[in-house]
């Protein structure tokens, strides 16, 4: 028994020495394998430690889901495990090899998509809005001459003190909100509500034709799906110019 303890001690000592040496290199390599060698380019980002608040309220979807990221230089990273951090508007990924979370370098992201149930959600990073530099992720519901985009954000609301699911007393509630925008290269983002009046007011010169077209096609705008259908119809009939 004593011998076993000695051997265990020696093995642990050697392992510790190895780890300490490896760390002196300034590079932590963890479990590298052939999957780590992405010839086309590597992922850049910053290691992240999630706190309970972020984990509970700010991440979407509720669990890590498969997704893909496209960089502005054309590099595509597939089969990543992704979640969108709506509070600080960041993309978070989980590295399976190293078993760590990291925040994807936002400046490099062109778009990302992930599986949300049966739906694939695609987010794009907007770099310019009305000639103003910006750096925000927007979900792209429809892409065309006029695109329909959604800005996800977490709204912090003061409420009466309550105990959350972890038993911690809180006086704020976080709610996920969505703002809808029409986007064109020329005009940038214009906020819009999901109803017919808002769509008509966006294209005042074609109101009559748009009304007629929506009526003929039986489209009643009251959600994302109907707004996308309406926009598609407008673009097909050249009523967005």
């Amino acid at each position: 028994m004593s011998g076993l303890i000695k051997y265990t001690g020696v093995v642990l000592g050697v392992l510790f020495a190895f780890i300490a040496k490896a760390q002196d290199m300034g590079i932590d390599t963890y479990n590298l394998n052939s999957e780590s060698n992405k010839l086309q380019g590597k992922m850049l980002g910053e290691v992240l430690t999630l706190n309970a608040e972020v984990n509970s309220y700010f991440l979407y979807p509720d669990d890590w889901v498969p997704g893909a990221v496209k960089f502005v230089n054309g590099n595509v990273f597939e089969n990543l495990r992704l979640r969108y951090q709506a509070y600080s508007d960041e993309l978070i990924s989980y590295n399976d090899n190293g078993r760590f979370l990291y925040q994807v370098e936002k400046e490099l992201v062109e778009s990302f998509s992930f599986q949300d149930g049966n739906k694939t959600r695609k987010f794009v990073r907007l770099t310019k809005n009305n000639n103003q530099q910006t750096n925000m992720y927007l979900e792209e519901l429809y892409k065309g001459a006029v695109s329909l985009m959604v800005n996800w954000y977490i709204f912090e609301q003061s409420v009466s003190p309550y105990k959350d699911r972890n038993g911690i007393t809180r006086a704020v509630e976080y709610q996920l909100h969505k703002d809808y925008y029409l986007y064109t290269e020329h005009d940038g983002l214009t906020k819009i509500r999901l109803n017919r009046a808002a769509l008509l007011s966006r294209f005042p010169e074609n109101q009559k034709q748009i009304r007629k077209l929506l009526r003929q096609n039986g489209i009643h705008i009251n959600n994302e799906f109907s707004m996308v259908n309406a926009l598609r119809l407008l673009i097909e009939n050249n009523l967005t110019e």
Partner: protein, 549 residues
């Protein structure tokens, strides 16, 4: 009778099918054109390659290579094609033996296609130090030789005059009528009879002899491959290999080899000759060897050759050509300079460690005599700990509001450094700038507990000699676009002009393509030739030979 008729009909149909297949192979093959049938050792051989649209899925980098009769690689180039054309050159080594050589082209992504077909060219090389050439090899296997169809009816070469003398201006036009060729190259040269008769297009079957190079489609970049081995045992090693490219300080990459020790790096947008620094990451004092694997394809089957006597007239012309090349170099100089130009923009648009939290330019402050003083005075959030003659660096972790408990990634001129002693004697006057990253960064699957980047004013990296396991290698990447200069020397008639090549250009598919060039002092038969690839992939040729008096 009826049965015999049926069999005959079947045979005719099969033959017709085979013929049509043979005619359209060029639609699925790279076709190489050279500006000459022979060259003298030390010359520059200019190449063009037709890249069919069908092959463009394999990437946009074409490898051109010069191979010996025995299948040895002599030289190779990676060029980027535009539309359907790749252009480049091969500097024929000065010491290359007299003989028959072959020019091929391939895409790296075609590696796993089994036997790869290419329509290449054979060229003769005459060693300029060889005193008398009596015998030369010729291809015995006639099936490998591609004889283009005559295009005399489709392409007309029109010349303004009928008789030409030395230094005359040759003017004319190439008329293609209503025939639509997808690619046409016009060239003009003084013929050397032996090579003119015995060189030309060849059918090449190529195969991958460098097992291990992945069939990676090279888009705007080149693949560099090599192998890592233990210096002591010679066995393959699978330690992490780090890559730095000098000239682009903020580029970095890594590869984790498998048990075969093979590693591969893709250098995006790298043009010219790259100076690579490769470092296997080793714990302890283990020493390694690194060897690069040349990216080339070999002939699938060895061709058979015969040896033929060179008659005295042919030998005299070859000798004159060798002398002419010498004079040409003497008076015109070498057209291709072996400059070490290198360009490589950062593919991420930012350093691989992200935007630094601090960027310090020591020249803006008072001069400091050591790195200890620099870190104390200028590097906020960075600790230089000097205990028991051991120097330890620690970086502040902004996110956690504490110092990391391990060393940060340390870089000098972009090269990872694993000994802090290299920093000790650095003075502020030696340093251009210092970048500090105070967070845990990732690059692929690697993690760094902060980054210390020191850019020195001296980029010679002489300090590398003191680090073990560092390999500096010069690697050719994508060739800078260059054009052959066939024009006469500006000095005019006061100097001898011994040019033998006058034209080598792609013909626009207009109905009439005008050309003009000035002849040199060389007498002989001038051939103006158009070689073309038709829409169906068939090779055509037409030429006009005139005597220069």
């Amino acid at each position: 009778m009826s049965r015999a008729f049926k069999i005959l009909f079947l045979v005719v149909m099969v033959c017709a099918g085979l013929k049509s297949m043979a005619q359209t192979t060029a639609n699925r093959e790279l076709v190489v054109f050279t500006d000459r049938d022979f060259c003298i050792s030390g010359d520059t051989l200019w190449l063009k390659a037709y890249v069919p649209k069908e092959l463009q899925r394999y990437g946009n980098i074409v490898h051109l290579q010069l191979e010996s009769q025995t299948g040895n690689l002599i030289a190779s180039r990676a060029v980027k094609y535009n539309n359907t054309q790749a252009e480049g050159f091969i500097a024929v080594p000065d010491s290359l033996q007299t003989g028959l050589y072959f020019v091929h082209a391939f895409f790296n992504a075609q590696r796993n296609n089994g036997v790869l077909k290419c329509t290449g060219r054979s060229v003769y090389v005459y060693n300029r130090f060889e005193e008398a050439i009596e015998r030369l090899p010729v291809v015995e296997d006639k099936a490998a030789v591609v004889t283009p169809e005559s295009a005399d009816n489709q392409i007309d070469i029109y010349l303004e005059d009928k008789n030409y003398r030395r230094r005359d201006e040759v003017k004319g036009s190439i008329n293609t009528g209503d025939n639509e060729f997808v690619y046409m190259v016009a060239s003009a040269r003084i013929i050397e009879p032996f090579s003119h008769k015995n060189s030309g297009f060849m059918n090449f079957g190529m195969t991958d002899r460098n097992a291990g190079i992945p069939p990676f489609p090279e888009e705007d970049g080149v693949l560099i491959s090599g192998s890592l081995s233990d210096r002591e045992t010679g066995d393959a090693a699978n330690n992490l290999v780090l890559l730095t490219v000098t000239g682009n300080e903020t580029y970095f990459d890594y590869y984790y080899p498998d048990s075969t020790g093979l590693f591969h790096f893709f250098l995006p947008d790298a043009r010219g000759n790259a100076n690579l620094i490769l470092q296997p990451l080793a714990v302890g004092d283990k020493l390694f060897d690194i060897e690069l694997t040349p990216n080339f394809m070999s002939a699938a089957e060895q061709l058979k050759f015969d040896s033929t006597f060179v008659n005295p007239k042919q030998a005299e012309i070859i000798e004159n050509s060798i002398k002419g090349t010498f004079f040409n170099k003497l008076f015109r100089g070498v057209s291709i300079t072996s400059k070490d130009d290198f360009e490589m923009p950062n593919p991420y648009g930012m350093p691989f460690y992200g935007r630094p939290d601090n960027h310090i330019v020591p020249d803006l402050f008072i001069d400091l005599p050591s790195f200890k003083e620099i870190s104390r005075e200028l590097l906020i959030g960075f600790q230089y700990r000097d205990r028991n003659d051991e120097v330890i660096f620690r970086m502040l972790d902004y996110g956690q509001d504490r110092f990391f408990d391990t060393e940060p990634l340390r870089l000098i001129n972009g090269i990872p450094v694993f000994k802090n002693s290299f920093f000790q004697d650095l003075k502020s006057t030696d340093i251009t700038f210092i970048d500090l990253v105070k967070s845990e960064r990732i690059f692929g699957d690697l993690r760094f507990n902060g980054v210390l980047f020191v850019s020195l004013k001296d980029k010679s990296n002489g300090w590398l000699a003191q680090q073990p396991n560092i390999f500096q290698l010069k690697v050719p990447c994508i060739e800078f676009p260059k054009q052959a200069n066939y024009s006469p020397n500006a000095e005019g008639r006061t100097q001898p002009d011994t040019r033998r090549q006058f034209l080598n250009e792609v013909v626009d598919n207009d109905k009439e393509w005008p050309f003009s060039f000035q002849l040199s002092d060389v007498k002989g038969d001038l051939e103006i030739k158009v070689e073309a690839v038709s829409k169906s992939g068939k090779l055509y040729r037409t030429s006009k030979i005139i005597s220069v008096q």
